[in-house]
Every structure is written in C-alpha cells, then in structure tokens.
Symmetry: C2
C-alpha cells in the first residue's frame, strides 16, 4: 500500500518501478536505433531519452556518458550476434552442416537486426580508438569460434590440421569475408539471408576452383 492509494492521488510506485535490467534494455534498444540512424557523432542523448521514454538523468545513472552508452551497445549487440550463431552450431553435426548453419544464422541476424549491424560494423568501425577495442574483441570471439569449428572438422577427417598448420588465420579471413558480404548486402537489400549465406559457402566451402567449373554449393548438399 502506498501514500497514493491512501490519498487516492497518485498511482502506486510499484507499477512505475521497472526492474533495472528492463530499463537498461529499453535504453539500449533506443540507443542502438538512434546511433544506427544518426551515426555516433550526430546522435544525441536527448533523442535516446525521447525514444526510450526514460529521462536523461536516469540514462546517465544507469549506463553513463554517451561514449559509455555506445560501448555498451557494441558489447550487447556483439553478444546477441554471437549467441544467435552459437545457438545453431552443434558440435555433433557434420562440419559442413555446422558451417552452413553458422553462416546462415549470421546473415539471418544481420537481416533481422540491421540497426545492430550498422552500430556494430559501420559506426563502431569508424569511430576510432575508444571503440576499436570493443569491435576487435567481438571479432576475436568470432574467429575463435570458427577456428574451433575448423579444428574439429580437420581432426574428424583425420588430417590433423590445415595446410600451414593453423586454422586461426583462415577463420579471420572467413570473418572478414562475412563482414564484407554483409556490407555489400546493405547496398543490395533485395537479397535474401539464404542467398547471402550461399555466397559465403560458395567462397569458403567450395572455393573458386570449383565455382569456375560451375560447381556451386547448395544447402541440400548437407544432411
């Protein structure tokens, strides 16, 4: 029971007090949208406050300055992306099927979360030092996941390791290829996630050596 209930003048505070986690999510949702639409420099805390429906003092109290808020956006969106990929990669599956699922999950995420991708890739990538480390950390996690997948694939086939003895640089190359394709996609939004994922499988699983002979990769090749 609250004063208002007693006095009959204001709504009960319980109804107004959302848990901190919920408020933070609302703020981050709004911030990702504003940063994505305006760019980091032009984005204002006033607009984030308007879109979130949460006062500026509360935003500062919960998530700090504009710079800290942007860093929090990068971290959260990178985590969401990695979880959406990690959620479909099952280490018991055939490596080709794992790669296809991971690649398709990547493009599905980017297609459904274009704001996230803009913040993660274009905005964070172009803002220099304070955020380069966040972005690099996200990439490192992606490279580690792909590298582990390639190691499992190679050991399953009994070849022990890839040529040159390291999967990490190949995983880095695949990550770069995926990022470049996602950027290309922003200019060609008519393409489907599946068509984009097939392109990355064509490059990374089949290779140009097959492609120039007309041998392309198809989803029904996998189990």
């Amino acid at each position: 029971m609250t004063k208002k209930d007693v006095a009959g003048e204001t709504p009960p505070p319980r109804a107004k007090r959302l848990p901190r986690a919920v408020r933070e999510r609302q703020i981050l949702d709004a911030a990702v949208r504003v940063f994505s639409e305006r760019g980091y420099h032009a984005a204002s805390m006033d607009e984030v406050s308007d879109v979130a429906g949460i006062s500026k003092p509360m935003i500062y109290a919960y998530l700090g300055s504009k710079e800290e808020l942007f860093a929090a956006c990068i971290q959260r969106e990178a985590t969401r992306l990695m979880e959406s990929i990690g959620g479909v990669v099952d280490v018991e599956l055939d490596p080709e099927e794992q790669l296809w699922r991971g690649v398709l999950a990547f493009f599905t995420f980017v297609g459904e979360n274009r704001d996230s991708w803009q913040v993660l890739h274009r905005q964070a990538g172009s803002q220099g030092a304070p955020f380069a480390a966040e972005l690099a950390e996200g990439r490192r996690r992606a490279v580690a996941m792909i590298s582990a997948l390639l190691d499992r694939a190679a050991s399953r086939e009994g070849v022990g390791a890839f040529a040159e003895g390291r999967t990490e640089p190949l995983a880095a190359a695949l990550t770069g290829a995926g990022e470049a394709l996602a950027e290309w996609w922003l200019e060609h939004p008519e393409e489907t996630p599946k068509a984009m994922a097939r392109r990355l499988m064509n490059l990374s699983w089949m290779g140009f050596g097959n492609l120039v002979l007309g041998r392309a990769w198809h989803p029904d090749k996998t189990a």
Copy 2:
C-alpha cells in the same frame, strides 16, 4: 635570374628548386610514415615537416590542411597498391595463376609497405566520415578488378557466370578476406608474404571442403 644571383651571394636557384612533383612525393612519403606511426589524431604537421625536410608553409601550399594531406596519402597508397596488383595480373593467363599472382602481389605490397597499409586500413578505416569515402573508393576498385577476373575465368570455362549470377559479391568477400588476413599478419610479422598468399588461395580457390580433406593449395599447381 634572381637579385641574389646578380649579387653572386647564393647558389643558383635551379639547384634549390625541385620540381613540384618531387616535393609532393617527399611530403607524402613523410606523411605516410608519420600518420602510420602516430595515428591520424596525434600526427602533427610539424613532424611531417621535420621528416620531409620541407617547411610547413610549403606543405600547406602544396597539399593543404592535415585532413587534405591525409586524404592525399590514402589516394596515393591505394593507387600504388592497385598498380602493384594490376601489374602482375595478365588476362591471357590461366585464372588460377592470375588470382595467385594478384594475391601474392597484394601480400608482397603489404609486407614491403607496412606504413602504407597502416595508413590505408587502420588509420583511414578508423577516422570516420571524411576518409570513409576514400577508403570505399579504393575497395570499389579492388572489387571491380577481382570481379572482372572471376568473370573472365567463368566465361573461359564456359559456365557463363557463377552461382547466383554475380561475381561482385564474391569479389567483395575475397577483398574482405584479404583485408582481414593482412590485419592478422600485423600481429604475426614472422609470416612470409608467400605463406599469407597461400592462405588466401586455400580459402578462396580450394575452399574448406577441400581443406578438411587435407587437400591444400600449392603454388606449383599453377603453370
């Protein structure tokens, strides 16, 4: 003839007056080095002037502000990189050999011009709007060159076009893979240009489908 020559007090002006193109090259060489070592923000025109041995007023007169000088560096280094690749790609050759030569030329250039690469990729890529356009233009040229190579390869084999009907996104993916490998290389400077080039051939020509079976790409496979 100048007043001083008449007076016999100073050397003839010809000896002091380098052609503008030579001075500009000296300034750009110095600027690439300073931007690469210090980063765009920390780099000062004083240091560029010291390294070049050319006065600041002359630098401003020839190449403009620090921002314009940096843009000129990006343009020049992108052109040098593209020329070094274009110089070895012979359209009469087998496509696989063309790709290998182009990829090897790319890593050879990066290995021999780490300052250039730092300016082109890390510095330009992290400075946002004013330089994003220069970098995007450089990428567009690279993608167009690779795309043309893939089109020639596909038409030579009689398959007409790659799966999905477009080589441009695959060329963009290869460009992204090359950039990511070059970044990885900065952290692993003990690797040779040839080892890096083989990695990109392994990914892009052979594909993981071959690699997991232990079938790697070797330079002696080409003519």
